[in-house]
Symmetry: C2
Subunit: 185 residues, 2 copies
DNA sequence: CGTATCATGTAACATGTTACATGATTCC
DNA sequence: GGAATCATGTAACATGTTACATGATACG
């Protein structure tokens, strides 16, 4: 069964999507990957800045410079009409296949294989800690951003993906706890 | 909050892990990515064959050729003692951070954002179909491979990761169905 | 005999990470 | 004045994909 996928310059569409409502600097975009958007994609500044230049060459975004303080130049980017069309086309394209999870934990579990190897319990404990931290972060963000139904409606997609991530983390934690109990029996 | 991860030549350890119990050809390894191992990692043959050569140079694996039929040469690879040590060291290393999901669906949802955009319902329907297919495949594999508790114990890691994937797919499907109901209200 | 699959490889390209670089601003 | 963070960039490298290539074998 073939679950192969592939991403063709996804970063491009993420940038366009982020610029849909606000003008942003490269640094702003970089920082957004540290928030809950980092749950589904990540990129370093060394990839973002060149991509912004490329998008500007392609006329999908435009830029202007503002001076902050005495001489610090910030480059703000805006989406163009062409950029908006490109973004909307991508949004209506059929989806890619489900990508592989690429997580270390599953991989190691698969290769340890021996039920009595004490490393299994360690792995579970480490994994639980990480998911607890993440769930914690996600629920905090949820409270911060979407305390009212009005706020939920105003950024419905954002609300949905946060909710999705929270449900995923909870299911994951339940499973981890169940298996930890099984191991100790 | 920083959830940054990174994989340093994970394919290397996957190959070592797969060779732990059986000798395999590059083609065998390629095919394994089409099974449930493809749930957590994927690689094309164009990446596998060069990696095998590299691992042999590093003396982590060894190879011998067998003739199949009249002249088809198959190269079988075995893990060496050094390879086994390398694999075991990796298994006891602390885990990487949780990687981003990198799925198209979440990304598009985030950028559509408008609750009334009919594309949201389409996206959910497409996504549901994909997860149904995947769950179907995973449960079939589970029945094929782990019908008895003896079989579960014999390949406990494999059993665990299949179970994990099934639980994940079920949770995901529940959420998708719930949200589809919300949309239709 | 034709088609699917087995089996292996390389080259060009795209994507993503690490490290190297530099300088400004804010806040204590 | 020192540290953290703001702000932007490039170069070298690692990883992963697509396309190009070739030939054998199994099965109908």
């Amino acid at each position: 069964m073939d679950f192969t996928i592939w991403q063709k310059n996804t970063l491009k569409f993420i940038i366009l999507g982020l610029l849909k409502h606000n003008e942003l600097t490269g640094y702003d975009i970089k920082k957004l990957f540290n928030c809950e958007i980092g749950d589904f994609w990540q990129a370093k500044h060394s990839q973002i800045y060149p991509e912004l230049k490329k998008l500007e060459e392609e006329k999908l975004i435009s830029s202007h410079i503002e001076i902050s303080g005495k001489k610090l130049e910030k480059t703000f980017y805006n989406i163009t009409a062409t950029g908006l069309t490109t973004l909307n086309n991508w949004l209506t394209e059929p989806q890619d296949k489900i990508p592989p999870t690429r997580d270390d934990f599953t991989l190691k579990l698969y290769f340890i294989d021996d039920k009595n190897n004490p490393r299994i319990e360690e792995l579970f404990a480490e994994e639980r800690l990480q998911h607890e931290e993440k769930l914690n972060y996600l629920t905090t963000r949820m409270t911060e951003l979407f305390s009212s139904t009005e706020k939920q409606k105003a950024h419905y997609g954002h609300y949905l993906i946060l909710k999705k991530a929270i449900i995923r983390e909870k299911a994951q934690l339940n499973w981890l706890n169940d298996e930890l109990n099984n191991i100790n029996k």
